[in-house]
């Protein structure tokens, strides 16, 4: 299944109206592979990483693989940009820095993101991930994205 960029942008615009982001995550094979879901909750957009055994990095604890938390945080940041930016463009990741604070247990993980600065070319976004207790983050990230429209790239 191929979803064109114009179709993806249309799905994002519709999701902003409906508060239903599943048509957007459904268009991303990796989001389905990992179990990433974007969900509007109480006026904010949250990213949920549904636990599955294939996400485990250390079975003896068990703990989630660090890469899965990095992907969750990066996705939360991208979806926050898609939700908030004036004209929808697909952000390109420049850099992501992930801090790991606690091991991720074998349950669902949530993430939220806030846009620290949205410039003409670059957006800086902070994201945080938690499990049962939002005040006890398990990981956080700072990410920078190129947010150029197609015309700007030419």
């Amino acid at each position: 299944m191929t979803v064109s960029h114009s179709e993806l942008v249309a799905r994002v615009e519709q999701a902003r109206k409906d508060d239903d982001w599943s048509p957007v995550t459904d268009a991303i094979p990796y989001a389905r592979f990992l179990g990433l879901h974007a969900e509007a909750r109480d006026g904010e957009l949250l990213m949920r990483l549904a636990f599955s055994p294939g996400l485990v990095g250390n079975p003896s604890i068990p703990a989630l693989h660090g890469g899965t938390l990095g992907a969750l945080l990066e996705s939360a940041a991208i979806f926050q940009l898609l939700a908030e930016m004036e004209t929808v463009v697909l952000p390109k990741t420049i850099t992501v820095t992930v801090d790991y604070m606690r091991s991720g247990r074998a349950v669902d993980t949530w993430a939220s993101a806030t846009i620290a600065k949205h410039g003409r070319r670059v957006a800086s976004v902070h994201a945080i991930a938690w499990q049962d207790d939002r005040t006890k983050p398990i990981a956080s990230a700072t990410a920078h994205f190129l947010v150029l429209g197609r015309d700007d790239e030419k």
């Binding site: 485990v56 990095g57 250390n58 693989h65 660090g66 890469g67 992907a71 420049i94």
Partner: protein
């Protein structure tokens, strides 16, 4: 200290890949394969095969950044592990990844990580991801790892090892 009995590299890789994949479900899910290691030298090279399910953008077929992140995290961890005198569990403390250019659709991605310094508590690593030429990288990364965390490492899991008391 006694000198370790040298094993052929292919046998070392075979043993390591078994523990790496069977012991770490997410490595197996991604299809990661260790292609080179430097025991005692602190380096590792790992291959991520291209797969449709890891695509982030179906119009271009480009892999999602998350899959590259997981590849780099696993490779950095393996490099630190190679530098340890005895196998203990390690955990990522932080990881910065710079995305230099998109991966080419349809091609496997390699990551190669080298430790910069490994102390009793912390391992410092640098890594590059590329297709076949490290001089033309897709991503570069720097990470730190805590050494000796709760839980047993992949290598310890095969035989129950006592806690070495070096928890975080």
């Amino acid at each position: 200290m006694t000198e370790p009995i040298p094993l052929p590299k292919s046998r070392v890789l075979e043993i390591m890949n078994q523990a790496f994949r069977d012991g770490v479900p997410h490595n197996k899910a991604l299809g990661l394969e260790i292609v080179d290691v430097g025991p005692g030298e602190g380096f590792a090279a790992i291959r991520l095969p291209y797969a449709e399910q890891l695509v982030g953008d179906t119009e271009t077929g480009i892999l999602h950044g998350g899959a590259i992140t997981a590849l780099i995290d696993a490779t950095c961890g393996a490099a630190v592990f190679m530098k340890l005198a005895k196998p203990v569990a390690i955990a990522t403390l932080d990881l910065r990844i710079d995305y230099l250019k998109p991966a080419t659709p349809g091609r496997a991605v390699m990551a190669r990580a080298e430790t910069v310094k490994v102390t009793r508590n912390v391992g410092f690593v640098r890594a590059l991801a590329y297709h076949d030429d490290a001089a033309d990288p897709i991503a570069s990364a720097a990470g730190t790892f805590m050494i000796g965390t709760k839980g047993r490492s992949v290598a310890q899991r095969s035989k129950r090892a006592p806690d070495d008391g070096s928890g975080t």
